[in-house]
């Protein structure tokens, strides 16, 4: 139907590194004929691209920033498409005693207590904001200046993982990026689960009132596909070596059951 038409979508590196896009986009193409040009950038940059109207939609995972974005009128609405979870990664030969931890912030406290090296994205991305949120729940919120073990690397998810792998350091990553990451070296998941690590992905079409030239129809087409049963089904079925990192949005699935 939309053969030959292209839509520009800005996504975060963590989403792209997960590899899901390599499954979804061909499906979109097959289903609707629509070609999606992906721009893989930091969360902040993705939202800026949206603000400027350089993309037709953004796909990010930073609820607070997204709501502000909608409030500012850059997007008519935000649609929660799916979620996955963050995991705390660390060296196998565990330096800090995180095994005992019951919650993410306990795990972080253990790392801080051990003064074990921790690599932070430090780039204001969804992942980074989440990490800071968890730290704020601990007694001591670290800061690269006074805590030598706390390293703010200011890079993409992939760059951060590469650094953590090379330093044998702890870090926070979304599960999908981790599963899809090839250079795992000595790293492994040292803590997972719990509400604190819930990671919500949302889709925001750019407002046509603000930017008449943006392709709202195509954006709507893509949105429709993402929330459609087959879209949701694809997301839920996506596997990386045996694991299914993403959970479709249950609120969307619900009516289908009823």
């Amino acid at each position: 139907a939309y053969a030959g038409e292209t839509l520009r979508l800005a996504v975060t590196t963590s989403f792209h590194n997960s590899g899901l896009s390599d499954v979804l986009l061909p499906a979109v193409q097959a289903e609707t004929g629509l070609t999606v040009d992906l721009l893989v950038v930091g969360t902040g940059q993705a939202l800026r691209l949206g603000q400027a109207g350089d993309v037709d939609a953004v796909f990010v995972h930073s609820p607070a920033a997204e709501k502000a974005f909608v409030a500012a009128g850059y997007a008519p609405h935000r649609t929660e498409i799916m979620d996955n979870d963050f995991v705390i990664l660390g060296p196998r030969s565990s330096i800090a005693d995180v095994a005992a931890a019951e919650s993410a912030h306990q795990a972080f406290s253990a790392i801080a207590a051990a003064g074990a090296p921790f690599v932070s994205r430090g780039d204001d991305s969804g992942t980074h904001r989440r990490e800071r949120a968890i730290w704020s729940a601990t007694q001591h919120v670290p800061d690269g200046a006074d805590d030598p073990w706390y390293r703010e690397v200011g890079g993409s998810m992939g760059a951060t993982l590469n650094i953590a792998a090379a330093m044998g350091a702890y870090t926070l990553s979304d599960r999908a990026s981790w599963l899809n990451f090839a250079n795992k070296a000595d790293l492994t998941i040292v803590f997972e689960g719990g509400p604190a690590l819930f990671n919500q992905y949302a889709y925001l079409p750019i407002s046509q009132d603000r930017h008449p030239h943006v392709n709202a129809d195509l954006a709507a087409v893509l949105e429709a596909f993402l929330i459609s049963p087959e879209g949701q089904q694809l997301i839920g079925a996506y596997q990386i070596d045996g694991e299914t990192p993403f959970t479709p949005n249950p609120n969307l699935a619900a009516p289908l059951d009823g």
Binding site: R8, T13, N17, D37, L38, L39, V40, Q51, A52, G53, D54, S156, M157, G158, A159, L161, N162, A165, N180, F181, A182, N183, K184, H211, H213
Partner: protein, 234 residues
């Protein structure tokens, strides 16, 4: 460490199997870079010649500035162009953002000062040799520049190759204005960056090797061309 070898292997296979994606990004790399270098030379060499020939106030300052511009940070150039080309920017209407054209513009900005600086330095030498003669023969500024560029072409080869080298390996600027969109603006360097961030080192290195091979190929060819007509001089 074995990545460095598996990289060679994957490079080898990509090449022998004429992997379509590889061909696509390789050709785009060449097309973007060669265009940028051509434009950069067309601007930079006459500019360098002019700066060697002409005497005007603040000439030395201009040259110092030109040399400084060799240090233009790609990321900043990319960001600046992004703002200009963005839909909400002054040139938004042309819809150039995230196109190869935008990447060419970025590279032209980056290579022109480099080419001009090296050209200026090379031509200054030749000019000190030709100066009295060209003045005596009343050559116009334009004729002087033409003569110096033509007779100094072997030295200018280095300038062009330096420009090519800078452009072919550049990633910071074209990543921002090109967006590294698959099948649209993805080139070898951005692909390498992407694979690196995925931790696929062997593929990243493989693409890197191909990139380097490309650079070597271009350099060797240009040398052979310039050699076929080299004079009895050193």
């Amino acid at each position: 460490m074995e990545d460095t070898l598996t990289g060679l292997v994957s490079a080898f296979w990509l090449v022998v199997t004429l992997d379509p994606d590889l061909m696509d990004i390789t050709l785009r790399s060449l097309q973007v870079t060669l265009t940028a270098v051509a434009i950069g030379s067309a601007i930079g060499m006459p500019l360098g010649a002019f700066l060697a020939i002409a005497r005007f106030r603040h000439r030395r300052a201009t040259i110092a500035l030109l040399n400084a511009l060799m240090g233009l940070p790609p990321v900043v150039v990319g960001l600046f162009l992004y703002i200009l080309l963005s839909r909400s920017g002054p040139f938004g209407v042309f819809n150039l953002l995230f196109t190869p054209t935008a990447m060419i513009i970025a590279q032209v900005v980056l290579v022109t000062p480099l080419i001009a600086s090296i050209a200026h330095q090379a031509i200054r030498e030749l000019w000190s040799e030709y100066h009295d003669l060209l003045l005596s023969l009343n050559a116009t500024i334009r004729q002087r520049a033409q003569t110096l560029i033509w007779d100094g072409r072997r030295a200018l080869l280095t300038a062009a190759l330096a420009g090519f080298g800078r452009a072919i390996g550049e990633v910071g600027a074209i990543m921002i204005v090109g967006g590294n969109i698959d099948h649209v603006t993805r080139v070898l360097t951005t692909a390498v960056a992407l694979e690196t961030s995925k931790g696929n080192f062997s593929l990243a290195l493989g693409l890197g090797y191909i990139l380097i091979a490309l650079a070597i190929g271009v350099s060797v060819v240009s040398h052979l061309l310039s050699r076929t007509e080299r004079s009895g001089q050193w």
